[in-house]
Every structure is written in C-alpha cells, then in structure tokens.
C-alpha cells in the first residue's frame, strides 16, 4: 500500500477548503481564543445560515452551466410580500405566510427557468432582467416605505430565533436544507441530471435526459430556496424595505465558487458549497473581532473569490487525452504534469 498521497488529497477541493478554514480559524484563535468557543462558532453558523441555503440553490443552477443573478431580488420581493401580509393582516397563520413565501419564490424561479428553457435566452440575460423587475416590484408594492419591527406580529419574528435543542430554528433550517440537498444532489435522478447536463450537454441528450427541463428545475429550486430566505431574512432582521439583500447575489455566487462549484458546469458538491458559505461567513464575523474595519469586508471577499476561482481553474484544467500507457518500471508518464490545453 503506497503512502498517503498528498497530491491526490489536494485534488479533493472539499478537503483543501476544510483545511483552509481550519487554518483561518487557527490564525484567528491564536490572538482571539474566544472566537473559536463553541457558542461563538454556532453564532457564526447561524449568521451564515441564509447564505448556505441560497448558495445550495445557486449551486444547482451553476451545475447546469447557468447562473441566477435574481436570487437577492427574489428575497427582497418575497420578503416584502410576506412582511406586508403580516403587517396588514396580523391574524394570518405563520404556516400560511411561509407557504406563500415558498410558492412565490418557486414561481419567480420558474419564470427565470421558463425563459431559459422555452425561449432559449441565455440565463445571465434573463436573470439580469428579472433582477431589476423583481426588486422594482418590491418598490411598487411598498411604495418605497419600510416595514419596521413593531409592525410585525410576534410569531412572525419569533420563529427563526426560537431555540430547539440548543440551536436557533434558523440554524436547524440550514441543517435540514443541507441534508435534503445532499440527497437531491447525490441520489435523486434530477440531481444527477444536473451533473450530466452541465458536464456534457450533448451526451446528456444521448442518454435521454431533457436538458432544458433539468435546467428549469434547477431555477425552480433556486427560486424556492430564495423565497424561503425572503421570509427568514425579513424575520431575522425584523425589517423589510426595497433594498433588502442588495448585492447579496454576488455573495451567493461567491460562496459557490469558493466551494468549488465550476462556473463551466458539471462540477461541485453540497459539502463544498456549504464550506464555501461558511468560509465567507467566518471572514464576515471575524473582521470586527480582529479589529479590521468592516469596510474591508468587500475587498477581502473580492480577493478571496479571485484566489478561490484561480485554484479551482488550475485543478479543473483539462489534462488532454491519456494515450500513453505507463511503461513498466518507469513512473507513469500520465502522472506527470499535464500540458496546458487550448482555450
């Protein structure tokens, strides 16, 4: 049995990322041991919960070689709708409101997916358009007014904060979504279809997979989870206004990219995406602790995205076809550094 193959381990993006997170936590803990106290780490997880949930939806879309820029606008619009419903009809049961959030999110995602599937418009164009439309509609509905914490019903605000088995419900929702997505990505026919469609669209057709439908369902999932986060966001921060989650779509995409989801499609895992979101969440939470201006956060996440995608691109670079068979007694030629491939 040969020894531990370090290079093979490095090729496992999840391990690499987990190691990076460990190093990051170690570096912070060296000066601020309190940061790695379990209670604080759970707090960080809770803070990252919404990002994790949305990143998993986005990961499905990116797996199919698409992109969904409208997720944050979906959060704003769905959040506004449930906030208005709650503020004007305080008697509505919370379950109904959450149902509305899920359905509406799903609908908004389905609109994106329909244009991509049935009309054949590139996803970036569709979601660029719907991103302004969805956020604009939030303005139309609210007239630009804010809905503040005192206008919400108690139960509306209480749910994400309620502590069950030592963790807030918000955290449990993230855990549940991760668990369900692990099954959807890894074991459901539609999840495997996403990998196939993104990995090789032509071969997917030969295998009898409807690429357009798979892509449509990915947009639906992304919309559904964004709708859920619309409620979670408004409830957690106890405020709804037009610019809620403004620019958050970039954080969501960044979490996916850092987590090793390839923008070229077909590569990425639930665990990687989870780690990518946690990585961003840790940085966001650590900055005030290590006394770096919160204004530095944007620059840092930009630099992290560039670094992460550079590493991933290196790892994914096509090594060309393997034609030579290793000659007996010599180290396999196929193991040597691969040559750089064409564009």
């Amino acid at each position: 049995m040969p020894g531990f193959d370090l290079r093979a381990a490095l090729r496992h993006r999840e391990l690499l990322l987990a190691a990076a997170i460990a190093v990051l936590l170690g570096a912070i803990a060296a000066r601020f041991p309190g940061f790695v106290a379990p209670a604080n780490l759970f707090g960080v997880f809770n803070d990252s919960a919404i990002l994790i949930v949305m990143a998993l939806g986005q990961a499905a879309v990116i797996l199919t070689r698409s992109i969904d820029l409208s997720v944050a606008a979906n959060v704003a619009l769905t959040g506004m709708v449930v906030a208005l419903l709650d503020a004007h009809h305080p008697g509505l049961p919370l379950a109904l409101l959450i149902g509305v959030a899920l359905l509406q999110g799903l609908g908004l995602g389905a609109i994106n997916g329909w244009f991509v599937w049935k009309v054949g418009i590139p996803p970036i164009v569709v979601t660029l358009g719907t991103l302004t439309i969805y956020r604009g509609l939030a303005f139309v509905l609210s007239g630009g007014a804010w809905i503040n914490s005192f206008q919400f019903s108690q139960s509306f605000l209480a749910l994400p904060r309620a502590v069950v088995l030592g963790l807030p419900v918000l955290s449990w929702i993230a855990v549940a979504v991760v668990a369900v997505m692990a099954v959807v990505f890894g074991r459901s026919p539609v999840g495997r279809a996403w990998y196939a469609v993104g990995g090789n669209p032509t071969a997917a057709v030969y295998a009898g997979i409807d690429a357009g439908r798979a892509r449509f369902l990915a947009f639906c999932l992304s919309g559904l989870l964004s709708g859920l986060c619309g409620y979670l966001w408004v409830s957690r921060y106890a405020v709804a206004y037009v610019d809620v989650a403004s620019g958050f779509e970039l954080d969501v995409i960044a979490a996916c990219v850092i987590g090793g989801v390839s923008i070229a499609g077909g590569i990425g895992t639930v665990w990687g995406t989870l780690l990518g979101a946690l990585f961003l969440g840790i940085i966001k939470n650590a900055l005030p602790v290590i006394a770096v201006s919160p204004f530095a956060q944007m620059a840092i996440s930009g630099a992290v995205i560039i670094a992460a995608v550079t590493l991933n691109t290196r790892a994914e670079r096509k090594a060309g076809r393997i034609i030579l068979r290793p000659v007996a007694g010599l180290p396999g030629r196929a193991d040597r550094a691969p040559a750089r491939a064409t564009p």
Partner: protein, 337 residues
C-alpha cells in the same frame, strides 16, 4: 494537372447576394431606430418641455457616461466575455482622483489619475481572464468586489469633495452651444469604436474569437492578447466615465456608480450584441443607448421614480430578446411542414 482537366468551367460567385441597403433595412438596428423614434414622439407628446434644446441636452447627461462604457463593453461581449467590474472600476478611479485632489493635484493630473486607474483595473481583469484563464463572469464578480471594496476601505463612510473648479468642465461643460463635452466625447468615441470593430483586423479578430475561440486559435490569432486588450479598453472607458461622473457630481462616495454594470450590459445586449459573443454592431449599441436615454427622460418628465424606470429597462431587455424569437416561431408554425 488533374484538377484543371476535371474541373468544370468556373462559375462566378458574387461577393454578396443582396445590396447593403436591403440588409440594413431588415436589421436589428433599423428596428431599434424605429423604437427610438416612437419613444421620441411619445416623449414629445407627453411633455411640452421635452423638445426644448437645453432640456434635451441636459437629458443626455444621465446616460452618456454609461453609453461610453457600453461602447467598450461591446468589444468584451462580442469577444465572448463579460466585464461586471466596470461599476467597481469607476468607484476606484473616482476614489483615486479624490485622494489625488486632497494632495492638491491639478485638473490635468486628476484626469490622468482617473484614466490610469481605469486602465490598470482593466489590465488586471485582462490578466485574470487571458493569462490565468479564469471565466470572465467570476473573475469580474471578484474584481467588482475588490475594486469597490478598496474604495470602501479608503473612504469608509466619508466623502471626497473639493475638486478644482476647472475639473467640473469634464462633467458639466459645453463645447459648442448646447453640445456638452460629455455628449461630444460620446459621439467621437462611437465613431472611433465603430471603425475599430468593423473596419480593422483587431475588430475582425474580436468577432472571430467570440464566435469560435478554438477556430480562432487554430487560425493563428493571438486569442489571449486580443481578449486582454478588450478588457483594457473597457477599463480605460470606465476610467473616462469616472472622470466625467466625478466632475459632474463634484464628490466621491464609495457607492458611486453602484449597479452600473447591469445598466451597461443591458445597453449592449439591447443593441443587438449577442451575449454569447461573436455578433454585434456599434451603431446598434449607440441606438440602444439613445433608447435608454429617451425612456429614462420620458419617464422622468412624467415624474416616474427611478426604480420604476429600472423595471421598464429590465422588462425591455427581456422583451426585445423574447419577442423576435417568439414571432419567428409563430411564423414557422404557420408554414406547413
């Protein structure tokens, strides 16, 4: 030789089948021009103030800076890439100019700083995409945060102002009568961009790369260099837009030009440039910029708030791409198979 013996008499193949005018009449640009004219008339009918020359000239300020960046962005998109960092570039260039102004830099130095920072940002994007080989959409999402993030880091919640008075010319000045410096620059740059994209080997190479980067490389084109130059040009244009915008506003905040990248990409796509690369014209982009300007002006005259305008713009983006596709499908369906 065998081939000459067996070859039939040469047939003459014409250069083109249809005249250029006929091709032009059925083009996307002609359609857009029709849309622009309709909106122009609608605006004129909607408000008696619209046709006032000074008023019209003032209206151009709201979109000229974006339109200038769109001219360069057209090259990036035709080459099959995208640059989402232009808003961040403008913020960083503006911040650099603000910092230079604090140290007492004169107008000429400020313009130099703005253009240089813009060019440097573009060069870095080009380096990431062409040399490192990153997908441009992710690379420029990263640099978008990085560039604007640096502005936030420098400025926090403070503001730079105190630009020299003469600097204001670039954003507020007029070169001839009601013709503003901004609009005149746009016109000049549009002609220049049109010539470069449609009449030079560089423009041809950009189009070939956008259509099929493999075949372009297999044809001996310097794919990386050409991609890099397209990003550099876009950075430079964003630098110029930063000069104009900063001069017009007279102040710099880190949130300057927030979200502009989406408006600029919208102008380019509306102008008929294929988002997947390979096709598009500068006249199309220019007309699309005018359409956008006319729509915003018209809605402004009707006192429609800005965010509603953005709904209209978003809906327009999807509609102009969807309607021709659906119309073509309907036509095909009607034809008996």
């Amino acid at each position: 030789m065998t081939i000459e013996a067996s070859a039939p008499a040469f047939r003459t193949i014409p250069d083109r089948l249809h005249g250029r005018w006929r091709a032009l009449a059925g083009s996307w640009e002609a359609l857009l021009l029709g849309v622009a004219a309709t909106i122009f008339v609608a605006d004129a009918l909607a408000s008696p103030y619209f046709l006032d020359l000074t008023n019209l000239s003032d209206a151009t300020f709201t979109f000229t800076e974006k339109a200038i960046v769109a001219l360069a962005m057209a090259f990036v998109i035709v080459a099959g890439e995208i640059d989402l960092s232009v808003g961040g570039t403008i913020a960083l260039a503006s911040t650099a100019m603000g910092a230079a102004a604090q140290t007492g830099a004169g107008t000429a130095e400020l313009v130099g700083v703005g253009l240089a920072v813009g060019a440097a940002c573009g060069l870095f994007n080009g380096f990431l995409v062409a040399r490192v080989g990153l997908p441009s959409i992710v690379a420029t999402i990263g640099t978008m945060s990085l560039y604007r993030g640096i502005s936030y880091l420098v400025l926090g919640d403070t503001v730079y102002n105190g630009y020299p008075d003469s600097f204001g010319f670039f954003g507020q000045g007029y070169v001839w009568g009601v013709l503003s410096f901004e609009f005149a620059s746009f016109g000049l740059l549009a002609v220049l961009a049109g010539i470069v994209l449609h009449r030079t080997t560089f423009g041809r190479a950009v189009r070939a790369i956008g259509n099929n980067p493999f075949a372009a490389r297999f044809s001996g084109l310097r794919v990386e260099r050409i991609r890099g130059v397209a990003f550099l040009l876009t950075g430079l244009a964003a630098g110029l837009a930063a000069v104009m915008l900063t001069a017009r506003l007279g102040s710099t905040r880190p949130s300057i030009a927030l979200g502009w990248e989406l408006d600029i990409v919208t102008i380019v796509v509306l102008g008929g440039v294929n988002i997947q690369g390979g096709a598009g014209t500068i006249p199309g982009v220019v007309i699309a910029a005018l359409v956008m300007g006319l729509v915003t002006t018209g809605l402004g005259l009707l006192n429609v708030p800005g965010i509603i305008m953005s709904i209209v713009v978003g809906a327009m983006l999807i509609a102009v791409i969807t309607l021709p596709i659906l119309a073509r499908r309907l036509l095909h369906r009607r034809k008996p198979a």
